[in-house]
Structures are given as structure tokens and as C-alpha cells.
Symmetry: C2
């Protein structure tokens, strides 16, 4: 049997997958890109040796990254998605009828091309005429945006890699400056099992910029440490509250999942005080 061994120096468990077939494997200007097929997960996208997405379980990550913040906003019209070259986050954003414009900012054009070819159910949506694709650095794009954006979503690779610049105070400040009064920002923030210190660091940095900051989670089998966290920075609105008016179709996300996915307040306080002992 041929196996793929994930190459994540920061994960204390190494994951490996059966490989039925390698569909694509090339280096882009920015990273090593591979697509292979697995009997259980279907097609799997790998960047620099780390699994980014599988056909079977991408729904958990993309729905939760997107709908929590989109549903907390009363009327999200203009959205920026940074990273997420596979198109999954954009697909979910477009389910919200209020959306008029999505700036889709992916630094590596090759990831978009590979996804269009090998993951049509994920990337198909980016042909939508509300989507404007720009292959450039997300930090640059946000810095030069006018303050007319309702939601910014960051769907980057792991924080402990070349996405580091998307988790700085400088970047968070640029995001805040391009948001409207009810504006909100959501991003992955790593595993509470394996990278609790990074989660706390991201949260503390966000808190130095945004008046409202919060944290929610979802278990994802294919990401190291699996107890995946997302961080929200908001200029005013409490993201625990659901304000979306229209229904949309999802497989995991729902109003009830929205409510239980946020870290309970007592535990959240202990996390930020670094008093969770594991």
C-alpha cells in the first residue's frame, strides 16, 4: 500500500493516509502542491506536506469558518476572503443572499487552478459574478481597502508557517480599518489540544485591536489536534447572537450549532488567563 505521511513538525501525532492515486504534484512559486485520492476521504489537497482539505470533510471547516460570522451580521454585503484558494469559504459566503461582492484574495494562483480542476464541487462557485479574484498578498489588499467591508474571513495555512503575517497586530489593525461599523472578522486559530498557546496569543493580539473578541470550535478529523478553533474580532456586535434573516442549506452548521460552538464563558476566561491545565 502507498501511504502519505503528513509533514507537520508542530504536531505531536503524525497522521498518514492511504493513497489510491496521485492526481497532481508540483511546486508553485510559493509552495509544494499535491492532490491525491484516498478511499475514505476522496480527493485530498496538500500544501507543503500538510493536509488542507478533503472532499469528504471540508464541509466542517468551510461551514464553520464562514457561517458563524456571516450569520452574526445583520446584512453582510461586501466580503473579503483572504486565502482559501480552494474556493470553499467563497462558496459558503455566496449562500448568504445579502452578499453583493466578494473579494477573493489568494496569493498563490496555482492553488486556485488546481482546485478548479480537481475539486469542482468546492471551487465551482468562484465563477459567480459577485466574486472578484485577486492573486496577491492579503495584507497588501486589506491595507489599501476602503472602509466599506462588512466581513473579512481569513482562510490561511497554519499560523506557524508563511501565513504568520496574517496574525499580527498590524494586520488586525488594517482589517479593522477597512470594516464598516457592524464589521466583523473571522479566522482559523489552530487546535486547542495541540496549540493552546497559539490560540491564546492570537486572541490576545486581536483583543489589542478589536473591542469584541470571541472564540468557537469544531472537531475536524483531518487537522492536527482536531479540536479546531476560530477567532472572531468584531467592532461592535456580539458574534454569539444570530442576526441572519435568510435560510441557507448546510450539512453541519445550524442555529443550534452556532450557539453551542462558542467556548462557554467561564472556560473562555480560564483559557485567556492561561489556567486551562492540559
Amino acid at each position: 500500500m502507498i501511504r502519505f505521511f503528513e509533514k507537520d513538525p508542530y504536531a505531536p501525532i503524525q497522521y498518514s493516509y492511504e493513497v489510491s492515486r496521485i492526481l497532481y504534484h508540483k511546486k508553485s512559486r510559493f509552495q509544494d502542491i499535491m492532490v491525491f485520492e484516498n478511499p475514505h476521504f476522496g480527493r485530498i489537497l496538500v500544501l507543503d506536506g500538510v493536509v488542507q482539505m478533503t472532499e469528504r470533510d471540508e464541509l466542517f471547516y468551510h461551514e464553520m469558518l464562514t457561517h458563524v460570522v456571516m450569520s452574526s451580521h445583520p446584512d453582510p454585503k461586501r466580503v473579503i476572503v483572504i486565502g482559501g484558494g480552494d474556493g470553499g469559504a467563497v462558496r459558503e459566503v455566496l449562500k448568504h443572499k445579502s452578499v453583493e461582492k466578494v473579494y477573493f484574495i489568494e496569493i498563490d494562483e496555482e492553488v486556485i487552478n488546481v482546485s478548479k480542476k480537481y475539486f469542482p464541487s468546492v471551487a465551482g462557485c468562484i465563477k459567480d459574478k459577485r466574486v472578484e479574484i485577486k492573486c496577491m498578498d492579503g495584507a497588501e489588499f486589506v491595507k489599501n481597502s476602503k472602509p466599506d467591508i462588512d466581513i473579512v474571513i481569513v482562510d490561511s495555512t497554519d499560523i506557524v508557517g508563511f501565513a504568520r503575517s496574517l496574525f499580527t497586530k498590524k494586520f488586525f489593525t488594517s482589517i479593522k480599518n477597512c470594516l464598516t461599523e457592524n464589521g466583523m472578522y473571522a479566522s482559523l486559530s489552530e487546535s486547542l489540544h495541540f496549540h493552546k498557546e497559539i490560540v491564546i496569543e492570537v486572541q490576545q493580539t486581536m483583543k489589542s485591536v478589536f473591542p469584541v473578541v470571541d472564540l468557537y470550535t469544531v472537531p475536524i478529523a483531518t487537522y492536527a489536534g482536531n479540536w479546531w478553533s476560530f477567532s472572531i474580532g468584531s467592532k461592535k456586535l456580539d458574534p454569539r447572537e444570530i442576526r441572519a434573516k435568510n435560510k441557507f442549506r448546510t450539512k453541519y452548521y445550524s442555529d443550534e450549532i452556532h450557539k453551542i460552538s462558542f467556548m462557554p464563558k467561564g472556560m473562555y476566561k480560564r483559557l485567556l488567563d492561561n489556567k486551562l491545565d492540559w
Copy 2:
């Protein structure tokens, strides 16, 4: 580097761990038992090639297996723990001041001996005079118990192995017959990511015996599929309600975790109707 590769034929991702030192490795009458040391997780207990417990993260499993059902009962006095030879479930049960008697039924005495020696922080508690250890088949013990038990907890190995007999209608009926009027039963029921069909099967079988059945989850990094589920069968009481009077010290479980850990009702219905599409 020396690595341990988990041998779980039912997991679509294979986990592997760095091995600093092998502390124990022998076959008992029932299974292959190994203890090794890992830089991140500390000591790890492996049965028949599958990780059962690590020093660092056993708290998630043991606290959640035990305290949800124990805290839903107004006054648990007499408890049976089946399996869990490491002693972790018994340790947590003993934190409840109401407890007068714990029958600790482990089929493999060697697991108890190994845990006493290599995991004293887990197994130390079983010296408590309220604990009566019996090395025998849990199904046999329950069948012959008088109906004076408040809580039964099953802490077995994976369902798809030699623990299969602990998930049958016959066994659930024996449990129900030994429970008092407010009696409740809790058990692991595998991963919602990897073994949804097994979760549904266990739930349906429980429903054919117990008037009240429910499901809750916790993400555990070291169990395949990680989104770990537990099933509760209850003769009368709703396990979502907390009735415990005394406080006890935990690292993860709390009243607020109790509430959010249950699967939201809409999603739970869709699970049982096999309409969750992943």
C-alpha cells in the same frame, strides 16, 4: 527516531507517535499490552495496538465518560464501572461524595497491574476502600447484580473488537435490570467522524431498552476520528439536567460543558434518522 504506528483497521487515518522509551510490552491472557513514553503525551497505554490512554489527555475522556451521568443523578451511591482497567473512570466516580460503593469489573487483571505501576496518577485511587475490584466479564457481573445500582459506566476498548458483547440488546437489558428507579448508564460510542453508523446502531439498540437515551461528545486528539461520542441510557431522568449537589475538581468538565456537550436536538434527530450527510 523510533515511532509507534497505531494498528486500527477501522480508522481511515493512521496515527503515529514518537517513542522515547518502551516501559512495558507483554501479552496477557486477553490482549497485547504496551506502555511507552512520548515527549508530548507522557506515558501512553496501548492495548492490541490501539492507544487507550495518555497521561496528558486522559482527563478529557475520563471526566466526560463519568461526570455527565454522575452529575445528572441526584444522589449516586452504588456504581458499577465495567472495563477501564487503568482506573481513570473509578478515580472520577470517587470524586462524587455521595458514592458509597464502586464495583470495578475489569476482565484483564494485567491492565490493572500495569496501570498501578506505570500510571499511578490514574490508578492510585483504586485503593479507596469504597472500591471492590473483580476481574471477570462485565456482562456476567451485571447479569447477577441486584437492582440496587444507581449508575453503570462502561469503559471498554473499541466496539469493533472483543468488547462487542457490551453493546448488545441483551447486555443493555441486564444493565437496566440492575438499576434503581433513577438509574442511568453511560458508555463510549465511538467517533461521529469515522463511525457514525456504529454510533447510530448503539443508540438504536439502547432505545429498544431504555425509555430515555441521549448522546454527547468531546473532541479527543488521541482517539481515531477524535469527535468522540458517549451514549446514555436512563430509566427516567433526563441526563441533560444537572442534579449533583456537591462540587468536585475537574480540568475540563463543568456545568457549562455538561450543557453544550449534548448534541443539539435538531441535529440529534437527523443523526438518528441517518440524515447527516458526511
